[in-house]
């Protein structure tokens, strides 16, 4: 029981004293997750629209593969990207291993299938009638796309949050591609693993609490943004 009391105490202390190391780790995690999620969204949302709104020959196969990729293990993404960006790899000359862009590359690959599939499902479930009405009233391609995004916005926001949560909490990619470098690529999750290894369980647990608080507050903000509309 002492463990948990210590951890609570330590977490509280770290937060109110604005511990420099903690701030650095948290801001690194947030920067990574934000960048990865934005990049992945820019790719996934248009991709999902294309998949659900156009007919092409291999669509069925494509959807099956997409669904299978939903459970992509982080270590597989990690080792694949590692082999690409290591100096010996194809992209070695860009010097990305053990840097933030390296981690972002891995995380983007990790969540693209997740985002695409979730947005696709949302678009599938939109009422066809509205779309057809708009079309018959002479909406052009751009307006149609806008309408689609408006109608699907809650689903899209939900998908983006899910992606954000996935990268914020993942450790495999951050550890393999980032190398857990102090002050540079150390994230909340890799710091937790390190502190556990060091036997500083209270500090690790404290980081865990902070991670939880972060994901709760992000979800809360988003819920507030939508003012809970889709639930009513």
């Amino acid at each position: 029981m002492n463990y948990y009391m210590d951890a609570f105490g330590e977490a509280w202390n770290l937060i109110i004293t604005m511990d420099q190391e903690l701030l650095k780790v948290v801001s690194t995690s947030l920067r990574l997750s934000t960048s990865s999620t934005i990049i992945a969204s820019l790719i996934s949302i248009p991709a999902a629209v294309i998949i659900s709104r156009t007919e092409f020959a291999a669509k069925k196969v494509f959807n099956v593969i997409l669904n299978a990729l939903l459970s992509l293990p982080t270590v597989v993404v990690g080792i694949t990207v590692y082999s690409l960006i290591s100096r010996r790899g194809v992209l070695g000359e860009y010097d990305m291993l053990f840097t933030l862009p390296g981690i972002i590359a891995g995380q983007v690959i990790l969540i693209i299938p997740l985002l695409t599939a979730l947005v696709r499902n949302t678009i599938f479930s939109i009422d066809e009638k509205m779309y057809k009405t708009a079309k018959s009233m002479g909406a052009n391609k751009k307006q149609q796309f806008k309408l689609l995004l408006m109608e699907a916005r809650y689903g899209i926001i939900g998908a983006v949050i899910a992606g954000f949560g996935r990268v914020l909490g993942e450790i495999g990619i951050s550890m393999m591609l980032g190398g857990n470098i102090k002050g540079v690529t150390r994230t909340i999750t890799t710091a937790m693993a390190l502190e556990t290894n060091k036997g500083r369980f209270a500090f690790a647990l404290a980081l865990g609490f902070i991670l939880l608080i972060l994901s709760f507050s992000i979800n809360f903000i988003v819920y507030f943004l939508q003012e809970g509309e889709q639930y009513e």
Binding site: L30, F98, N197
Partner: protein, 276 residues
């Protein structure tokens, strides 16, 4: 209301990304062992160098085997490891140049205070390993091709044994994690003294055997050969070698202690020639 929050949120995200956007700075990637990092030595040794040369040292702490691999692939500029034979092979193969001795400490055999295999006080490391294997008490091995793991395998070799069985647990993790595992399982383990001292406040394991010359643990530093990997930051790597083998670097190593005990002993400059 919603708009205002959205704006606030975007400003926050922008602030986060701007505030921490690193200023373009020269960097040196150092691959090293978990024992140097877990012991806390690098936190003392690296910052003065970073300040002096206005460079950022990115420390990637892995096992010695992995560190050497990173060096071979050119993913690091310099390696700081402890496996003399592998280091010499690394230099001979042309991956690294200008190896220097930096410091040493020794390996110790840790075990639970109850000492089920009854090894306490035994002098010869080979005998200790023999006794542990015969007793059937659990033994935690790093199992990660690290310097400590290589040393452990050579000791099993010396004892003419091939460790195998349910008593032999390969953790596949760093020194600290493995010590914690041995502590939880009340098992024996081979560890470097530095990491043990850094952890000794938190665990029950005790040093049960030490002092055999086979347990000597020297650390070396090797810049990656710029003729082989042309992109490496050789100049800064050599500056770091100069720094850690200088009076300043060796002095920091000499004065670093945990729980009142010195963890590493400088070997580039004789201790009695170190300035106070």
């Amino acid at each position: 209301m919603r708009k205002r929050i959205l704006v606030l949120l975007s400003v926050l995200i922008l602030l986060i990304s701007v505030s921490t956007a690193a200023v373009a700075q020269e960097k040196l990637v150092m691959a090293t062992t978990t024992s140097t990092e877990n012991s806390g030595l690098l936190d003392e040794l690296v910052p003065p160098f970073e300040e002096k040369f206005d460079v950022r040292v990115d420390v990637v702490a892995v096992g010695t085997g992995a560190a050497i691999e990173l060096g071979e692939n050119g993913d690091a500029d310099i390696i700081f490891v402890h496996a003399r034979e592998a280091e010499d092979e690394f230099v001979e193969a042309g991956y690294g140049v200008n190896r220097r001795d930096v410091m040493y400490n020794d390996f110790v055999v840790l075990g639970p205070p109850s000492d089920p295999a009854d090894i306490e006080g035994m002098e010869s490391a080979a005998d200790v390993f023999h006794t542990i294997a015969d007793s059937g008490a659990e033994f935690v091995s790093r199992g990660d091709d690290s310097g400590t793991h290589k040393k452990e395998l050579s000791l099993w070799d010396m004892a003419d044994l091939n460790p195998d069985g349910s008593w032999y647990l390969e953790s596949g993790q760093g020194m600290g994690a493995s010590i914690n595992m041995a502590d939880e399982r009340e098992a024996y383990i081979l560890a470097d003294r530095g990491t043990y001292l850094a952890y000794s406040g938190e665990i029950d394991l005790e040093i049960l055997s030490s002092g055999d010359s086979a347990l000597f643990n020297p650390y070396g530093i090797i810049p990656i050969n710029p003729a082989y990997h042309t992109h490496v930051n050789y100049q800064m790597a050599m500056a770091f070698v100069g720094y850690v083998t200088s009076q300043q670097g060796q002095g920091i190593i000499n004065s670093y202690s945990r729980q009142g005990e010195q963890l590493f002993f400088p070997s580039a400059i004789e201790a009695d020639e170190l300035e106070e």
